[in-house]
Symmetry: C2
């Protein structure tokens, strides 16, 4: 049986939320949350007030993004918001589709999400480092980066000054990396899937400076799906509320807080992975600097949600090699990078993660046996 690690299903956090089952319980009766509308006076008219408030409170507690005076747009995951941002930045459309770039290695799904409808508004143009046209463009900046966990800034060196930016900050949370400043970009996207692990709810949000951009993103989500599940908005607000309340309540020390749990879990998993990788010698892993985390009040390494494995020696296709050893991964080519790399999820359930480590160890066994 293959490990289903390909999508990065964030099941690692399930064990934490099991302990919080009752505290995070939501109850929805037959007649609640029936309307399309949340607040017709708001730019994002389908955003529930309680979710907006919870998002803002959570960012204020964590300190990872500026929210005051900003518009919040809710989406069916950050996937829908990425497309909403492309739409907002390209309408009314010019004579040709605008190039969308991202520094390689980049998230494997950006290309598909940009091009699947063959839009006349925008088109995928690949690696931002290779982009040198003097024309309007959109650069997606993913930080920490998926797949390799690196901290990113915009890289296109254009004199045309016609670049616009979308910041995908899905992994800018204290369990993955040091919170070094409150991010303050024009469009910043986050997701419930990666912050708390509730991928099944499909809730993402963008923090947007400009009202007109927020309005266009809202229009996109209206045309795409007439809003976003109210049931999941309510659930996300409840769970975020439990998290930020845990940081208000000084006396509460019976249960570990979520981000402490997440940070400890990720640090342990990375330590175990680095140990196995060092033992078998087939692979190398990125190294991350220690940075001071304003949230934890201490220095920390990055512990990304994915391991960006590089195969050493003569083997040229890391994904294929892993597959031969019954480990499912996404190969480097899909990230605009070298096939000697492959991405493996660090967020799987404990038994799956352990299985992954054991299979990595088995590879060592095979090599020794030959």
């Amino acid at each position: 049986m293959f490990l289903f690690d390909d999508r990065g299903d964030p099941m690692a956090y399930e064990q934490y939320w099991k302990k919080m089952d009752d505290k995070c319980k939501v109850v929805i009766t037959g007649s609640q949350l029936m309307s399309y509308l949340s607040d017709p006076r708001k730019v994002c008219w389908f955003l529930e007030a309680e979710l907006e408030e919870a998002i803002k409170k959570l960012h204020r507690v964590v300190g990872n993004a500026v929210v005051d005076g900003r518009h919040i747009v809710v989406g069916t995951g950050s996937t829908q918001l990425y497309q909403a941002a492309l739409y907002a930045l390209t309408t009314p459309g010019g004579p040709q589709p605008i190039s969308v770039v991202c520094a390689a290695p980049y998230y494997s799904q950006y290309e598909q999400e940009t091009d699947y409808l063959r839009s006349g508004l925008y088109k995928w143009a690949g690696d931002a480092y290779a982009f040198d046209k003097e024309e309007p463009y959109i650069e997606v900046v993913t930080s920490p980066n998926n797949p390799d966990g690196s901290i990113r800034k915009a890289v296109v060196n254009s004199t045309s000054n016609e670049g616009k930016h979308i910041y995908d900050l899905a992994y800018y949370w204290p369990q993955y990396t040091a919170i070094t400043a409150a991010a303050d970009y024009d469009i910043m996207s986050f997701t419930f899937s990666k912050s708390t692990g509730h991928a099944g709810s499909r809730i993402g949000w963008s923090i947007v400076k400009d009202e007109e951009i927020a309005r266009k993103m809202t229009n996109f989500i209206e045309y795409s799906s007439i809003g976003v599940s109210k049931d999941s908005q309510h659930r996300a607000a409840t769970i975020m509320g439990v998290i930020y309340n845990s940081y208000q309540d000084i006396k509460s020390d019976s249960t570990e807080n979520f981000f402490e749990f997440g940070h400890r879990l990720m640090a342990e998993r990375w330590s175990r992975l680095r140990e196995v990788v060092a033992m078998n010698g087939f692979f190398s892993l990125p190294k991350f600097p220690r940075e001071f985390c304003l949230f934890n009040g201490d220095y920390t390494e990055s512990y990304p949600a994915f391991a960006w494995l590089k195969i050493n020696g003569d083997i040229e296709d890391c994904e294929k090699f892993l597959k031969e050893n019954k480990i499912l991964s996404r190969g480097g080519k899909r990230f605009g990078s070298d096939p000697r790399f492959a991405r493996v999820s660090m967020l799987s359930r404990e038994d799956v993660f352990e299985n992954f480590l054991n299979r990595l160890l088995t590879i060592k066994g095979i090599r020794n046996g030959h």
Copy 2:
């Protein structure tokens, strides 16, 4: 204050679900429904098994669609499924975008949902009656029709035999019209919003004959939003379950069943509207034949979710005229039709509906006063 009737928010059913609040209650704990996945072996891998089962049981009870041996694809409302169907029917794309048509008057949002991304795969081509090109096309058939409640069949008269069809059956439920047969088309879409009134949950589903089309629709929803809220899927399954169980339980006569309630409510509202319209003499309304409903076991008229008002006499813009009388509607032009028509929701909350009737009566007062 204007009546916010423009979108057709189905709040009329709230009074029914209030009585069922407890019976329809869903409880979701902190660790439930966290994964992206529902069943990786299924074509639609993010469809919860309980929702698939509930959808099939509900259609079997109502008798409005064939579900046995069909694939179910869940979407974030039927809006997302409409776009998924366009994508599924046009990939791999030919040298030019395929024309999408619908008989006028057609649902006002189809044009925008088809064209907002300027897709190279498909483009809106307007009224199906006017389409006479000998080339591939997609015809959307909405039955009962939005805005005018008529029962529809495909109308394009093409000898090229290259037409494909999407059936939007959002209103093919017993509260709106007679169920005369179990529909059995290639792609049929339904929505939780119009069947039970739970618009806030954004749950729609398509019943699809061909596995490859179902797979492509699933791919679209993956690229668009990586699936559909599990919380809302669970809630929709629960509420559908309460409905079909009510039809199994012969002894249960304490509470009216949902479709009986809906049918009675819509019949009453249409009767009151026809009375007011007859009294003031400004407007006319469509007439519907009486048909035998296999579900109710009796003859019934249609009681559509929207009233398609036509203004009589010299006034040329019905929407403008209504707006002057503080009634918000969507004018005929937006439905590819005559501006002497306008669409008004029949599904608003009771106080809003009563307000609408009173304002219609006031118009009569003004005319008499001149």
